[in-house]
Amino acid sequence: MNSWQYSESIESEKIVNIEKKYGNFIDGKFVTPKSKQYIDTISPSTEKILSSISIGNQQDVDYAVVSAKEGLKKWSKTAPSERAKYLFKLARLIQERSREFAVLESLDGGKPIKESRDFDLPQVAQNFFYYAGWADKLDIAWGNEKYKPYGVVGQIIPWNFPLLMLSWKVAPALATGNTVVLKPAETTPLTALLFAELCEEVGLPDGVFNLVTGDGSTGSHLVNHKDIKKIAFTGSTGVGKYIQKSLAGRDVGLTLELGGKAANIVYSDAALDEAVEGVVNGIFFNQGHVCCAGSRLLVQEDIEEKFIKKLEKRMQTLNVGNPLDKNTDVGAINSKDQLDKIEKLVNEGIADGGDLYQIECELPKNGFWFKPSLFTSVQANYKIATEEIFGPVLTTLTFRTPEEAVEIANNTEYGLSAGIWTEKGSKILWTADRLEAGVIWANTFNKFDPASPFGGYKESGFGREGGRHGLLSYLKVSS
């Protein structure tokens, strides 16, 4: 047979310089952790150890918060236009070094280089540019209402879009005049550590941005620290609930961006080939490690067979493998823990009676991998139809009428995002009006813009990131 396979086209790792061991970034410099405890961060596509990072303890967090308090003295007196300059500088430096960041992100997290290069990094830079622009316009953002920054803000970010989530949090926090203590996820700390180097390079005043690496225990110290005025968290609903409980009764601001189980509704009058692309992008983008992933396909019953056939054929063309290969569409699962979780849920789906389709492909020997998967014959009460899998697994449900589509779509504890596919404009509006989701895409999916607020309803969290609304996550009403 005349097959035309693409030869490997690997983005070079040589561009990144990874230290053997990292400390925390506090008071404008890298410091040795007081905990003296370290954990390896590995590449999920090879299981190779990349570096050792510190697990921050109570003392480390204390140090960082004290530094942020000190930093606030200077930062709060820095003119807004000066704050903007630092953010613009950071944005430009990120652009300049975006290839380095992209390679690091793919190495440490397992996502395809084409995504870190073409999606994550451009978005990261845009976020800094966008919020840099707001820094000196806060007085006119809400008419006569006056707002002030919280002060010292604790930010805990996830492993699926490490640097992008950093930018969603750090850029608006600094623009609004807060100082930050950030804790990245323990499996993906490297881009945040490189970002800290950039803060040093642009001469950001000491203590304005502080970074403490670590695991859940470090995050817990941060949440429970008495001098933290606000916590912004992106991650699982379970941890989000724990944080909210911990903060109950304290005067600490909180925004949560949690899980999702988004419905991607395909009506029979949709442009089906484009809908297939959107559904594929909705669930296999970043291996499905996306809180707003379109993980529930709701397809109108009369086109189910045709649509699933098209979808399976399209899925088979996905290239799964080395994240640094420029032709890779689906990379590695972020960690062993996550892989176990996906496998467990998928096995339960099979046991419940779901039909599983997986593409035929060879998976690398080392590393954590899961084949792009599609469940059909799924009932609404199966776990795979209700629980967030956070992996490359799509669950199909069918509906007969628009009413029913909306009912099924809303029949979830989550409410982060949704997709609507139809060529009929009035049907898009009718459906969007009735969906309980923070972000609704029509005839597209996973589109982001720094100017557009992002956030959830129900157990997907509260507060918004992005846009003018995103500023409010870091401001409170002035007395």
């Binding site: 047979m1 005349n2 097959s3 035309w4 396979q5 693409y6 030869s7 490997e8 086209s9 084409k114 073409d118 009058d269 949709a270 442009a271 089906l272 080939d273 484009e274 809908a275 692309e277 959107g278 056939k309 063309t317 420029k326 032709n327 060529e423 005839n443 597209t444």
Partner: protein, 313 residues
């Protein structure tokens, strides 16, 4: 892959055709997004050389000018047979594409080779002529020895909403072609919208065309990768419906290897690798071939060579 079928089995009846056309729904942004995403494929080393060789073998070396002479056609036909005399691993082009009056000249040169002679007909490029004239034009080209016929659809009828007439004309022309491959030019630059392109594709395929072709190369706007994607999906839908496996020819404005490889990627990923043969995919081009030959040399010798190292076409 099924082999090409006889005329009776090739034409799909009008009511089935209408069903397909009525169901055409395309999202413009989705098409553009997919096309630009496929353009980021990184084709290197072995896969690049393989792709470039495929492109040579898929080339319909073309000249369609008022100034064409027997001498020019002979030169081009000869080049099609041996595009790079210094490298016997480079395949021959698929065909030469000429006006009907020059078919016999071309045929005389390529006679003993694999290179086919394609003739445009049906009052190329406008198609503004009565059906009888188009039939006579086509019949003449066939009598002269054409192995393949490239016709244009009746855009006048298409824009007037008379899809049936577009279809009927192609059916009539396919009928006189018989086993000779019929390539039907949609002129995507005039059709403009992706829905029009898909509708015209389905009409042309139903009416028995063996290939659908993007452009005449005679207007301001030629082939586009987006149009190719839409046409590929029409071909896929046609095949999935059990109506037969058809080919695509992209022509008009494809001048360099990088662009041509991107077309290959579209076909490879939207239709599948089995479409990547001259039987199902062609490039209509005049200057593309030289750039591809240079790239092949570059890969093999690691140096770029000037145009004068390659024979004129």
């Amino acid at each position: 892959m099924s082999s090409k079928t006889s005329f009776e089995n090739t034409v799909i009846d009008w009511s089935s055709t209408i069903d397909m056309i009525d169901n055409v729904r395309i999202d413009e942004l989705g098409v553009k997004e997919r096309t630009s995403s496929l353009a980021t494929r990184s084709i290197k080393r072995d896969s690049k050389l393989e792709g470039l060789n495929k492109i040579v073998s898929m080339c319909d070396l073309t000249t369609l000018e008022g100034e064409d002479t027997e001498g020019k056609i002979a030169q081009m036909s000869s080049k099609a047979m041996t595009p790079d005399p210094s490298d016997t691993n480079v395949p021959n082009a698929a065909a030469v594409c000429v006006y009907p009056s020059l078919v016999s000249t071309a045929k005389n040169i390529v006679r003993d080779s694999n290179v086919k002679v394609a003739s445009v007909s049906s009052y190329f490029p406008s198609g503004q002529a009565p059906l009888e004239s188009k039939i006579a034009d086509t019949q003449f080209a066939i009598n002269e020895g054409a192995d393949e016929i490239d016709i244009v659809i009746n855009r006048k009828a298409f824009f007037e909403g008379d899809f049936r007439k577009v279809y009927d004309e192609i059916v009539s022309l396919k009928e006189i072609c018989g086993d000779i491959d019929l390539k039907t030019i949609l002129e995507v630059g005039e059709l403009e919208t992706y829905e029009n392109i898909k509708k015209a594709s389905l009409i042309a395929l139903s009416a028995g065309s063996d290939f659908i072709k993007t452009s005449t190369g005679k207007i301001y706007s030629g082939a586009s990768r987006e149009a190719c994607l839409v046409m590929a999906r029409a071909v896929r839908e046609f095949a999935d419906s059990g109506y037969g496996v058809k080919g695509i020819k992209v022509a008009g404005g494809i001048r360099d290897s990088k662009d041509a490889i991107r077309y290959l990627v579209i076909i490879n990923e939207e239709l599948g690798t089995e479409w990547l043969t001259p039987e199902y995919f062609r490039f209509g081009a005049s200057s593309l071939l030289d750039d591809v030959l240079k790239q092949i040399k570059k890969i093999k010798t690691n140096s770029y060579q000037s145009s004068y190292y390659f024979p004129r076409g």
